[in-house]
Symmetry: C2
Subunit: 345 residues, 2 copies
DNA sequence: TCAAAAGTGTTATCCTTACACCCATGT
DNA sequence: ACATGGGTGTAAGGATAACACTTTTGA
């Protein structure tokens, strides 16, 4: 090996440092049942089950959290394997589709570091599963992901919370910005992300929206640890989560919404055979918008995404529906097969 | 804090382990000049400048590497800030657009771990920059990214190397797979990724293609460290890089190609004003395919992506060209503004 | 018989693609 | 004059979005 390359190698040797590093693996495990997109969450207490009211001053003491497991650096496995391992151990779920989302490494994102603990770097994953097996752990359960991000669900029209709570609060935040050019930039960003002032609502921008709410301190997660209860600003609702887990959830939702359009990931969430309404229901649940029935059906059928399985189901409430299955050959035919959302420009 | 939540916290405390963890930040820094997409690479020796011949048995002793810097866990900054910091320190470049790509954590991906060194987790970033400032470091330089991934450049038609080297080598690899169902699955995967057997070429699948070449041991990076020179399989060309850096490069290229279509990232690589040909040249350089001139122009103009700046340039070789600039307002008007490639289904 | 959900048909409109052709400069 | 690259017009085909309408079940 040449001297140059050896020098580069040497640069990688660890410097002595008082702070050690820990890798945490966090998983957003998604399943859709009866039109509800659910994620597996742990650590919540039962008395906290009722969702907080809009605008109520609140700071839950035992917030929900995403399931996670530490990485054993001496273990002889990849990050993915480690993740699958502890998820199966803790919950009994064997994950199918798994995708790395993002690595979060802000200092002090875990309060433990303040107490002299290690610096925790979290590698977040998105996992999709068909079954909602009740988790093996006592304190884990499947929860509607829109309890955490209620402004993301537009299926019943524009969510009340946007007009009643979020828009005025963000306007107030914007007027509080002194520097004019900064204010203009932020106003544009808010308009684009939240669809204010005539901008369109883009379901994929879930992370950017959460990020803005965080910067504007409209989510309890952004408030300092030691804020006295009476000085807390009002929460724009949405159930909080531990640490930055809601940010991770928003990342997962945005990524999944994007992926729907160009990869056939929906089928990871459906049984082998399904009706077109079921398929549409899952897409709607995840994207958070309603789709035009006839056009949706034509798109997936003529797009070669599904084929009739031959069977029919009578459990529809109306006329029996044909059963379909995913048509794998589409992978050969089209470069980016997925379910196009309207206005996907 | 409730007992449940506290238990969760405690699970995050570090276990005693003989193996320590190190975080490395690696950057794929991209710039496009004169139609060549370049990345900043370090650590190569001058005598290795000539590209290896197709099919030559070779194992460069001082491979090129991506620039990287270790994360100081006690430093009070985010991963992004740390990255910008050492890039500016080492190269003098101040990065504009920066995006996290992926975190690589396979054990023993760095041979140092075998020698009892720490487990290295690499967080890879994609960074775009306009200027090709000659790097401050002696052994850093800008290099055509297709020297590393020659099969990805279809601008002059289908690359020779695909038909002459890669396709036969992969066919041989496939016939060597004993289990029939596995062989069928892998054959389908190869066809889809490389566009064999009538499948279309999808520029975005750069990572999947590299991954296959790696699994088929067609890149030197996949060969065992101690392979004697005479037993080395033939390389399907493409200049190798250190560790898994070529995989990181492939990740970056695929991601960038995808992003071009729905986010206006090209403009991060162009000066403030530019001609439409320059714009097209950059898109072509990155996507690796030629685009239809007139349609491209109409798409970006009627799509509201650019506006005339008023000026013209005479350094074209033909008729002077109007200068354009990026039209920021498009962000408001369209949910996902980008440059559509042909056949984007 | 009616509600509910499945499924079919048709049309106007826009966007993509491909082709042919003209324009302004340097040599 | 001509080569070179910049720029315009137009027509065919396909995809999208919005309509109204029929069919088949359970209650």
């Amino acid at each position: 090996m040449s001297k140059v390359a050896r020098d580069n190698m040497d640069a990688r040797r660890p410097q002595p440092s008082p702070v050690t590093i820990m890798i945490g693996l966090e998983a957003v495990i998604v399943a859709v049942t009866e039109g509800v997109p659910r994620i597996l969450s742990v650590g919540h207490t039962d008395h906290a089950l009722s969702p907080p009211e809009h605008g109520v001053r609140t700071r839950p003491e035992a917030p929900d959290a995403l399931p996670f497991g530490p990485l054993d650096p001496s273990a002889d496995c990849t990050l993915d394997q480690a993740l699958r391992g502890w998820v199966s151990e803790q919950t009994g779920l064997s994950l199918g589709y798994v995708e790395q989302l993002y690595t979060f490494g802000d200092p002090y994102r875990d309060p433990l570091q303040r107490e002299g603990g290690p610096r925790v770097i979290s590698v977040a994953y998105l996992a999709l599963t068909r079954e909602c097996v009740p988790a093996r752990e006592q304190n884990a359960s499947w929860r509607d992901c829109y309890t955490y991000l209620p402004w993301e669900d537009w299926r019943e029209g524009r969510p009340q919370i946007l007009g009643h709570v979020i828009e005025p609060a963000l306007q107030q935040w914007l007027t509080g910005i002194n520097e004019p050019s900064r204010q203009r930039r932020q106003r544009e960003r808010v308009d684009i992300c939240f669809g204010f002032s005539g901008s369109a609502w883009d379901p994929e921008r879930a992370l950017e929206r959460y990020q803005i709410l965080y910067e504007a301190a409209l989510v309890p997660e952004a408030w300092p640890q030691d804020t006295p209860a009476e000085r807390l600003p009002t929460s724009p609702s949405g159930r909080p989560m531990a640490l930055d887990h809601r940010r991770i959830l928003a990342t997962a939702l945005g990524r999944l919404r994007g992926k729907l359009k160009y990869r056939p990931v929906v089928f990871e969430l459906l049984p082998d055979t399904f009706t077109l309404s079921q398929l549409q229901g899952v897409v709607e649940a995840l994207s958070g918008v309603r789709l035009h029935k006839q056009n949706f059906r034509r798109l997936v059928e003529k797009g070669g995404l599904v084929e009739e399985s031959g069977g029919t189901t009578f459990s529809t409430g109306g006329r029996p529906a044909k059963l379909f299955r995913f048509r794998r050959e589409v992978l050969r035919e089209r470069p980016a097969p997925g379910v196009r959302l309207p206005g996907a420009s």
